[in-house]
């Protein structure tokens, strides 16, 4: 049984929306060596009959030709009398394409023979088929010919040139890919099959620098985009964009890791392909939040009406995860210099937080990422009072929960541990709450905002409950005195950050006492932090390449707490200079 062809055919048949075919078909053409001059998305609002895609390529007869592709997907993917005749029908489109030229600066474009191809991921009804073939025969002259690529033809082309060329080259990867698709909604996170498949794809070839990008690398990049697109369309089938979000985030970070690992972050050609992926990822993120943000803005919108008592954990977990990604997107959208809109970013995040008041109650230490994202976003929107107010409420909730229920967010970041503690009332062995990196960071923000009253309240609370404060610092800083202690010397900071939960560093103690037992006053605390400002500084390759948001995604995805440069470089006029 040719599993590959079955998988490909089923997939192509599942593309039931016109724009899905529009997206995937150019990938096929590029993998076949065509030069694409225009894509469907470039024609929004402009009628270009029969020219959804204009490309240059070598035809089966070995002659270089210009191609006009007319795509019929979605409801039109099966050709019948219904969509063949009449205005805007296929016959009409072909005629328009035949007589209306496409203008291009491509060398000798007008001189090349023309081939008009109707592409549809379905079948054609027998009676219409003969009519269409008659039309082709009658209109074919020396320099103009016609063709039709249906589901069978597309299956062969996709199998041979794209899936078969890189993605599904052997039974192992074909099986993996098939299992990924079958089990796409069966696991909470990312399936092991998907992780294995992506690792397999990126490790199949060793990068070698060459003048022109070798075809195998083009195919690799196209394959990655194809996988992402397939997962995206499958997620749509499940009416669950969360699947696409998590799988595509994994792929994005793996992709960037591969680029960093091969020192390609300044290679324009590779970045060109990577950008295509980023655009797709961004589209998925926008669509995900386009669906979910209106719900999140409702009172308790992120609460599930069907979750039952589990929601005392699930609601908070979901809300923090939502905020983590949402803040990243708000930055990407509203801090883009071209479309800058701080007011909108501020309004959106404040509304989500207020509608879902569990956003003030972190249950895992790593929820520091969401908390910091919110505070930093509010600072950058110049809403310092809101940032302080949010910080105060988070501190209040942490303190109250500890005092009333002996609950402090788990420093081991295990949601399972939190559930066990919550349900049984017994802290699991691996539940860690004697040390709190989260509180350590929040205490530094207290100093940043010059909140002396909160400092004194929290100091008393922390000392009373004997909570150790410690901030995680990587060994890799510019001024590091612990470089020798790195346990992974093969991968630099970012190569580790983009491939796993980063642990190659030390825990920097933050004491609220001096001379053993004397309490540290606020002024001394601020002075102590000033001295630590240079404890960790780093020049990120990712930032230099123009993708700082990728670092945020890596911290979120791999549950790595932010490094101190995330907050120690913030400069507010009213603090730390005293």
């Amino acid at each position: 049984m040719d599993l590959k062809n079955i998988v490909v055919k089923e997939y192509l048949e599942s593309l039931t929306e016109k724009n899905e075919l529009n997206y995937i078909f150019p990938i096929l053409l590029e993998s076949m060596g065509y030069t694409i001059l225009s894509k469907p998305t470039e024609y929004i609002g402009i009628q270009e009959y029969g020219k959804d895609i204009v490309a240059i390529g070598v035809d089966e007869d070995g002659i270089k030709k210009r191609f006009y592709f007319e795509l019929k997907g979605g409801a039109d993917r099966n050709i019948s009398e219904h969509n063949f005749y009449g205005k805007d029908g296929i016959q009409d489109s072909l005629t328009q394409a035949r007589y209306n030229d496409f203008v291009s600066a491509f060398p000798k474009f007008d001189k090349l023979p023309l081939k008009i191809v109707i592409v549809h991921n379905g079948t054609i009804k027998g009676t219409v088929q003969s009519t269409l073939e008659n039309f082709f025969v009658k209109n074919t002259i020396n320099t103009i010919s016609f063709d039709r690529w249906d589901i069978s033809r597309l299956t062969l082309l996709f199998s041979k040139n794209l899936f078969g060329a890189y993605l599904l080259t052997d039974p192992a990867s074909t099986k993996l890919f098939n299992r990924v698709l079958v089990n796409l909604n069966a696991t909470d996170g990312i399936s092991n099959d998907f992780i294995a498949l992506i690792d397999l794809i990126f490790s199949k070839e060793t990068w070698k620098k060459s003048k022109n990008l070798a075809r195998k690398w083009q195919l690799l990049f196209e394959s990655v985009r194809l996988i992402a697109f397939i997962i995206y369309t499958e997620s749509k089938e499940y009416n669950n964009y969360e699947i696409a979000k998590r799988y595509l985030t994994h792929l994005l970070l793996k992709y960037w890791h591969w680029i960093l690992k091969n020192k390609l972050e300044e290679d324009d050609i590779v970045l060109g392909y990577f950008n295509q992926y980023v655009v797709l990822y961004f589209k998925v993120l926008v669509e995900f939040f386009g669906r979910t943000a209106p719900l999140a803005l409702l009172k308790d919108g992120l609460y599930s009406e069907n979750g039952g008592r589990y929601e005392q954990i699930g609601y908070a977990k979901r809300s923090f995860e939502f905020i983590e990604y949402f803040t990243v997107l708000l930055r990407l959208v509203h801090f883009d210099p071209k479309y800058i809109n701080h007011h909108e970013a501020h309004q959106q995040i404040v509304k989500v937080i207020l509608a879902n008041d569990v956003s003030f109650r972190p249950i895992l230490d790593i929820h520091s990422v969401a908390v910091l994202n919110v505070i930093n976003l509010l600072i950058d929107c110049n809403k310092i009072d809101d940032a302080k107010s949010y910080l105060s409420r988070v501190l209040n909730q942490i303190k109250y929960a500890k005092e009333k229920t002996d609950f402090l967010p788990d420093a081991n970041n295990s949601i399972e541990n939190v559930i066990k503690f919550n349900v049984t009332g017994i802290k699991p062995v691996y539940y860690s709450d004697s040390t709190s990196p989260l509180l350590a960071v929040l205490m530094e923000y207290i100093a940043l905002f010059d909140m002396e009253e909160e400092y004194n309240i929290m100091k008393e609370f922390i000392l009373k409950h004997d909570i150790d404060l410690g901030v995680f610092v990587p060994h890799h800083g510019i001024n590091s005195v612990s470089l020798d202690l790195r346990s992974d010397k093969e991968n630099d900071l970012e190569e580790q950050l983009f491939s796993k939960s980063f642990r190659d560093g030390y825990q920097s103690e933050l004491r609220l006492t001096k001379m053993l037992n004397d309490e540290l006053d606020f002024q001394s605390f601020k002075e102590k932090l000033l001295k630590r400002k240079k404890e960790f500084e780093y020049h990120y390759r990712t930032d230099k390449a123009g993708y700082p948001f990728l670092r945020e995604l890596a911290h979120i995805y791999f549950k790595t707490p932010y490094f101190p440069d995330k907050w120690r470089n913030i400069n507010l006029e009213c603090n730390l200079t005293t």
Binding site: N240, D300, N306, G314, D357
Partner: protein, 408 residues
Amino acid sequence: MGNNENTSARKDIIEKSKDSLETNTLEALRLFCTIIVDASKEELEDIGASIKTIGFEDIDIAYQKSFLLCKIIENKNSEKKFTDSCFQQIIPMLESDNHELVDRVFNNIQYSLNGFEHEKYGLLNIYLNNTKKISVLGDFFYSFTDPKYIFDVMIRMYEVQGFRLSIDKFSNTVSHFWSNDKNAVESQMLNLFSHEQFGMLAVKIIASYHNAPYPVDLLKLKTKEQQLLSIECICSYPHSFDKLLPIVLVLRNSSYKVVKEYLQTKLADLIFNGYHRTLLNLVEKHISKSVGDKKFLAPLKKASKDYEEMKEVKNSIQDLNPWENERNLIDLYYRLEHETQAIMMKENRNDKSSFLSMLKNTTIVRGNAWKHEDDDTVSPLHLIQSSIMVDSRAYKNPIAYEQKLENL
């Protein structure tokens, strides 16, 4: 024997006892006890004066002396001033460092002194200050006739512990008072709604009756502020709202328009955010079909409809559905919950005080019915379950919810 003879005999005993008070104190105290019931005012005062200087380091002497004092106090011939001095003699015994001694003395106050509720309550406070043994509160008030003291205790404890205070230990006594004098207890309960900070305590007490809450009549609350507070507190109570509902629903007939409207607003809020359709059904069950009640119901129906629409919107996508995206965690949560409940059931079976310990435990591994060896009939397995209505806001954000309750 005639009266004169009795009097003479008592005098002999009193004198004899007084003589041996130094040498055989315990026996002397016991002898006093034998004649105390019939003693005259003068005799009582004579005895009271003679035992005043008796030390109470010995536990038995302290016990006997305190018993004697209780009996002197109880005697109808004792005058107020005199009984006060007897109470003054008891106080140092309750303040002793020897807690065993204190317990014995307190035992007398609890079980051997009828009436004098005000003074007994004062002694209780001295006892508690010294020993901190609040377990005595469980049945201390059982012999009281006025419920105000037990309410005072609950108020004072509530001031310290807030909403987390458990009033289980008082529930039997409150119930006992209720069966003796409903009006007095109802008045105490309603009086709590005069103070903002004790409104939730009132609801706790009202809800603490065995199967249904105490059927207090909230229309007896005179001011609109009291009525509004009762609505606020009952609607914020985290569980058993189905049982409290009939009590609060009477306020739809309040003479204050603002009270009626507030009740509508709160119930609509609860329907939308807490109990949904279930609550609407219950309200419909408890009110009439009159025009006024139909009007009252309208915003509640709207809230239910709004909730269903909101739910539908949420369910229209799977992106935030935990059953799709957090399945493993949900399974873990309910599996652990199930296990925890099973452990509790097992502990209950072993606990001889639980009714479950009386049942023979047989597991039906397959099938939906069972047959006893001695009986030909096949008995279906009935679903035995108890449930209480819990406000879903309690698990939306437990910490914030509790903070809100405490701040009420």
